[in-house]
Structure formats: C-alpha cells, structure tokens
C-alpha cells in the first residue's frame, strides 16, 4: 500500500485542477468535488497508516529529477511512521474542515475558488509531508506559502485582508530564504538533498568542512549553521518569535482557512520539518542546534501566551494561542522530546481545529469577533459551547483531554533535559489556561452583550453587499433574512465540531503511560528518533511530580481567570489599573509589529525613496547627459555630412559633367573625322618611331 502513497497528495491536486477548470460550471456542487477527493486521500492515508501500524518497513521511492555533473537530485516520497501519521492527521482534519466550509462558505460568490485553493493547500501540505528530499519539501512548502497568501486574502476587496496576505507571505519568505540558503549549504556539503543520504552521512559522523562562520564574535561550525539556517523556514512558517507577526493577521481569511492554517497545514509544516530533519539538529556538537530550537520555542510559547491574554478578538486570541502552542512543540523537539513535540502537534491539530471552527460558529451566530460583545452563548449554542469547552480544556491541559498528555510529555522531557526551559513552559501553560478561561468566560458565560438586530456584517466585502448579500456566510439562514441572534449553526458545521471534540478528548490516550510495551507510552514505541538509542538517551519515565504540577498550574490558571472574568469581570479592571503599562505593552503586541513596521516597512519605503531620488537625479542625469552629448555629436556629424561628404559627391558629379561637356565635341559621329584622326595618329607614331631611329 505504501507504494500508492503518491496518491495522497495527488487526490487534492486533482480536485484543485477540476475546480479551477470547471468550478464556474459546478457552482454550488463544487465543494463535493473537493470533499470527495479529500475523503479519497484520507482513505489512502488511512490504508498507508494501517500498514505502518502493522509494522511495515519504511518505504522510499525516488526517481532522478535532475543531473548536474556527478550530482544527482532525486524526487520521490517517503513513507514511514512519522510521515504516515502526519499524512493521516492532515487528511482527517482537512476533511472535517472541508465539510465545515461547505456550510460556512455557502452563498459566497467565489465558492468554488475557495475550495480549489483549499485543495491545493492540502496537496502542498501532503507533498511536504511525504517528501523524500529537501527539494521536494521546498516544492510543497512554497505551494503552502502561495495558498496561504491566496486564502488569507480571500476577501480580496478588503484592504486589511490584502495587507495581511502580503504580511504573511513576506514574513514567511524571510524564513524561507534562510532555509533555501541552508539547503544550498547542505547540497554543497553532501552533494545531495535526499533526506536518507544526508541523515545516513550525519549518523555515521560526517566530517563537515572545517570552515566556520563567525557570528557575533563566535565561530559557528557549518553543521550548526546549516541546522539553524534550515530552522529559519520553520521559524517563519510556524510563527516562531521573531517571525510570528503574520499569524494573528492571518485571521483576515475566512474562519475555515484559519482553522486549516493553524491546525493541519501551514504551521504544522514547520514543526513537522524539524521532526523530519531531526538528525540535522541532533548531530551537532552538544546538540547545540536543538538547544537553540528549544529556546526559540520556549520564548515563543511564553511571549505569545502573554500577548493572547489581552486580545479581544476571538480569532486573535486563538492565533496567539497557536503561536504559543507551536512554541511548546518546538521546545519539546528541542529538549530531545522528539515524540513529545510531534505528539503535541497531533493533539493540537485536533483541538485547535475544533476551537477555530467553534469560533467560526460563534462569529457566524453573533456577527462580531469581539469577545466583549458576546456572552451567555452557552444557552443559545449548546453544541458549539460543549465542543468549544472540550477544545479549551484540551488546550489548557486538563486531564484527561488530549492536550494534557502531550503537554505533560513536553514538560517531562524539558524537566529532565533542560530545567530552565521547563520553568518557562510551565509559566506559559499557566497563561494558556488563563487566556482560554478568559475567552470562554467572556464568550459563553454572563449575559449577552451584543446587539439583537445586527448591522450588516462589518466583515462583508463590498461586492457581497452589491450582490444583495447581507451576510458573508448566509448558508444557514438564506439571503437577506435573519434569525434572531444568536442561534446554533447548521449540522454541516456542528457535526465536524463534534467529531473533532471526540478526537480532542481521546487522542491523548496514544501518549498515555502504560499503553506501550514495557510501561512506556504507545506513541514512544511507535514513533521515536533512532539516534536516541545509539546516543543512549532514554525517554524519561512518567513523573507524578511533573504531571501534577502541570495540572495544578493549569487549574490555577483557570481559577485565576475565572476569578477575574467569570463573576462579572470587575476584577480585571483593578488589575488593569494596577499595571496599566503592561496592558498597553501587551495590547501593542510587545511592539513587534510596530518595530517591523518602523524598520522594514518605513525603512523600506525610505530606502525606496532614496533610491528613487538617486534614480531621478544620478541615473537619469547620466542618461540625459549622454543623450545631450549624442545630440551634439550628431549635429557636428550632420555638418560634416552636409559640407564634406555631400560636397565631395557633388564635386565628382560636377567634374564628370564638365569633362563630358568638353569631350562631347570630339564625338562628331562622322566617320571621316575619325579616320583622319586615326591617320594623323599613325603619322605621329611613324614620325616618332623614325625620330628615335
């Protein structure tokens, strides 16, 4: 079955092709093309995963893509436990989001195009997952980047969406550039971009060129440099500090896109890449590259959680939460928790997709993103509330939901391998529970604070309004008529929520201790980095201290937030008065965006203006000077032509005419004249000859 794994990315790609070619004709039926292809991909992924589950060997298929000299670049796919699990997760979450979108996007003028982009997005992600080499990876990676650009700016009439899509594309591009340089470095050192060959060489103590690059006065060996450069890609795509700024703005896209970007595809790609290319990071002196990954992850986890606490836009809270959780995953991978990081990626995909789709359902109902304008929704939206609560508990890390198990794994690994990171992550997990409780308290409890007769959707792009649609996603209630707000969403949206809620609740069992042979976790048994065994690194045993401390911190976060926001929310005002500067600092996203805006956007514009001035005055000046000089030379040349060249030509003509005028008199046309002359000539010759004698 593994030999058929190439079908997995191909199905959504075919769906994309069909939708792009015939989407207009398919109209309202187009989502079923996308859903069908996605279901087929899911079934294939399930079959491939099942085979890996039964203990199949890793399968690699490759063919020659390009040959340069004696270096061969291969393209192909690799099926092992890691990629099979990831592919299954992507397809399952993707399918649920597709189904949800059928309801959410109904009535959109660009209905089929939306599904075409979603399909291409999934195709790119699955290519990235199944890639066998850095180059194939890059192919999928760039498709993901393109699709994120297209989907974030899906409401393309809205200026903020245009800005957000540009921001996302350019920010991730910064990381991608580093990654590309890293891949070039690897190709230079190894002569190949194939994972298998590079990792083989690394595991057998590949000797890197002794060359070292000096960064900030410290020589950095090439091995570390390559790992860090490649890590640049995940930093951009997975929204790690300092390239996280695009992720909250990516909320400009339709909510299913946010769910897809934040759960199954784009941001997961970065974490997956680190897991996939783990040897690159592992086989550095003292695992220094992994330590860098761990610290970037820990910093991201903490900073993003802090920023999430003060957001008021429900999707932005979830966006910062995603950044924070991605930081957890990176930190987990960085502290030698290979399985732990990947496990958190899996569980997070389910509960974050659930939370985003739940948020979409809420927004669908109340037509605002501001949690302060919601409230009391648990009564009117029971299904959304129940599933959202499951997702929140999973995210906060409450036993026995999925997030508890995976977060506990990460904390456990950090506790054993890098205690400093452990304490940072503990603080972040306190904040995680805190901001999720705040969100739930504001949105679902208390009394409804929003308007009962909503204005036309403020998110509504102009062309929707012109088309007579008052609601960006009127699927549930038809055009122009509106049920009393708020109300529960239609089944096509709630069923995916329920499925995801079930997953979020139970998928953690995979990583529960005692499920695997020998008392370890099943997932550790299933997916583990081979290098650990050779290096003698043991997965730490389950620790009650860490588990209870993690749980206690999460409960403290929940209770703290409930105390502040649950009972009327009065106490949050006190805190705000107590540390106003902190609130301002966090509201402004720690000034990351302002700094980038000032340095790169303003700086870029200033530089552009400077260059324009240089262009206008220096370059244009030189060009104009050359032009004037040429005109001058041409004038001189014209004078020379008129008087000298033309004069000579005319002179020849005149001379010829003058000579002709004279000589014509010799041509009498009378034969006897000629004979006379001939005779005289003969006589002259004769006389001259005789004279000589």
């Amino acid at each position: 079955m593994s030999a058929w794994a190439w079908l997995i990315p191909l199905f959504p790609l075919v769906g994309y092709g069909v939708l792009i070619a015939w989407g207009r004709r398919l109209g309202e039926r187009s989502p079923w093309v996308a859903v069908t292809t996605m279901v087929l991909a899911t079934l294939t992924a399930l079959a491939v995963f099942g085979e890996q589950l039964r203990g199949a060997e890793p399968y690699v298929w490759r063919t020659i893509w390009a040959v340069g000299g004696d270096r061969v670049i291969t393209a192909g796919y690799t099926v092992d436990r890691l990629s099979a699990t990831m592919a299954l997760m992507v397809t399952v979450v993707g399918t649920l989001i597709f189904v949800y979108s059928v309801g959410y996007m109904r009535g959109d003028p660009y209905y089929s195009r939306f599904f075409a982009f979603l399909s291409l997005f999934c195709a790119g992600m699955l290519t990235t997952v199944l890639a066998n080499s850095f180059l194939v990876l890059l192919l999928g990676w760039e498709i993901i980047g393109l699709c994120s650009y297209l989907l974030i700016g899906f409401y393309f009439r809205r200026r903020s969406a245009n800005m957000a899509q540009m921001k996302a594309f350019l920010t991730t591009r910064v990381g991608d550039t580093f990654m590309l340089v890293g891949i070039m470095l690897l190709f230079w050192q190894f002569g190949t971009v194939d994972y298998h060959e590079i990792f083989e060489a690394l595991a057998h103590g590949k000797s890197w060129s002794p060359a070292a690059v000096t960064l900030f006065g410290t020589p950095v060996p090439l091995a570390v440099l390559a790992a860090l450069l490649v890590f640049g890609g995940p930093v951009g795509k997975s929204g790690q500090v300092p390239l996280h700024v695009w992720l909250p703005d990516a909320m400009e896209g339709p909510t299913p896109v946010s769910a897809l970007i934040h759960a199954a595809t784009m941001v997961a790609a970065g974490v997956y890449l680190v897991a996939r290319t783990y040897p690159l990071f592992f086989y550095t002196p003292n695992h220094v590259a992994l330590e860098a990954v761990a610290w970037v992850g820990a910093a991201t986890a903490l900073l993003a959680a802090l920023m999430a606490v003060v957001q008021e836009d429900i999707k932005r809270i979830l966006a910062y939460s995603t950044i924070s959780q991605l930081g957890f995953m990176m930190a987990g991978l960085g502290v030698l928790g290979y399985t732990a990081g990947f496990f958190h990626l899996l569980t997070h995909a389910f509960f974050k997709a659930l939370l985003f789709l739940g948020a979409g359902s809420v927004i669908h109902a109340v037509h605002t993103n501001n949690i302060k304008e919601m409230g009391g929704l648990w009564k009117s939206m029971p299904v959304t509330f129940g599933t959202f609560l499951v997702g929140s508990l999973a995210l906060a890390g409450i036993f026995p939901f999925a997030g508890f198990w995976s977060k506990d794994e990460i904390l456990l690994e950090a506790y054993h391998h890098n205690p400093a990171v452990y304490w940072v992550l503990t603080a972040a997990s306190f904040l995680t529970a805190f901001y999720m409780t705040r969100l739930v308290a504001y949105a679902f409890f208390g009394s409804y604070r929003g308007p009962t007769h909503p204005e036309p959707d403020p998110w509504l792009p102009e062309d929707y309004a012109r088309a007579g649609i008052r609601d960006a996603h009127p699927g549930s209630h038809g055009q122009n008529s509106h049920a009393p707000v708020p109300h529960e969403s239609p089944p096509v949206m709630t069923v995916p929520l329920m499925v995801l809620a079930v997953f979020s609740a139970v998928v953690g069992v995979l990583g529960a201790p005692g499920t695997g042979p020998g008392g370890g976790t099943w997932l550790h048994h299933f997916i583990e980095f081979e290098g650990f065994r050779e290096a003698g690194i043991q997965a730490p045993d389950f620790s009650w201290t860490v588990a209870l401390r993690g749980l206690g911190v999460a409960l403290a976060g929940i209770l703290g937030a409930w105390g502040m926001y649950g009972a009327g929310g009065g106490r949050s005002e006190q805190v705000r008065r107590w540390v106003p500067w902190l609130v301002v600092f966090l509201r402004n996203r720690m000034y990351f965006d302002a700094f980038y805006g000032w340095l790169f956007v303003r700086g870029g514009l200033a530089l552009a203006r400077l260059l324009r001035a240089f262009d206008a005055y220096v370059v244009d000046g030189i060009v104009n000077a050359v032009g004037y000089l040429m005109v001058l030379v041409a004038r001189l040349d014209r004078l020379f032509d008129t008087y000298v060249v033309d004069g000579l030509v005319n002179l020849v003509g005149l001379l010829t005419r003058w000579l002709g005028g004279i000589l014509r008199y010799a041509q009498t046309g009378r034969a006897y004249n000629y004979i006379l002359l001939a005779t005289l000539g003969v006589v002259l010759i004769l006389v001259w000859t005789l004279w000589r004698l």
């Binding site: 046309g669 009378r670 034969a671 006897y672 004979i675 006379l676 005779t679």
Partner: protein, 102 residues
C-alpha cells in the same frame, strides 16, 4: 635605273591619294573607290619588295593576289551595302546617313 625607292614612293603616293579620297569624298561609292586605291598601294609594296628583296620566292605575289581577292569581296559587299542604304534612305551621301547618331 628605277629602284625600290621609286616603287615605294609611288605606292605611298597612291595610298595618300586613296586616303584623301576616303577623307574628303561624301559619296559612299567614292569612298569605296578610295579604299580600292589604298589596297592597291599595298599591293605595289608587296610586289616591289618581292622583286627586290627575294625574287626567287613569290610570297609577295601571293599576298597581292589574296589582297585582290579580298578587294573584290570587299567591293561586292560594300556596293551591296551602298545599294541597300540607298534603297532605304534615298541617298548615298555618308554625312546624311545619320540614323545611329544621337
């Protein structure tokens, strides 16, 4: 004693007379006659040289006979041309035959 010089002088005189006729006469027939005179002046030279330089050989005589034959041909062709020109142009005056003159 009449020597080679006398013959040559009389031949040269005959040639000069013929040339004069060719140059001065306007009638094509007279010009042809002048040409005949010049050819015969040449014949006198041939015969005279043979007689005084190598009497045992007759090369000059043969040349003279060839010239006479040529002269006959020339006269025939020339007169035919003159007649033809006369038929077309109603004249044999060479300065009036100027069709080819620009």
């Amino acid at each position: 004693m009449i020597g080679l010089g006398h013959y040559l002088v009389s031949g040269a005189l005959l040639f000069a007379v013929g040339l004069f006729a060719v140059l001065t006469r306007r009638s094509a027939v007279a010009i042809l006659m002048g040409i005949e005179l010049m050819l015969n002046a040449a014949n006198i030279n041939f015969v005279a040289f043979t007689k005084f330089v190598s009497p045992e050989l007759v090369r000059g005589h043969i040349a003279a006979l060839v010239v006479i034959a040529l002269a006959a041909c020339e006269a025939a062709v020339g007169l035919a041309l003159v007649i033809s020109a006369y038929r077309h142009l109603e004249t044999v005056q060479v300065d009036e035959i100027n069709l080819m003159k620009w």
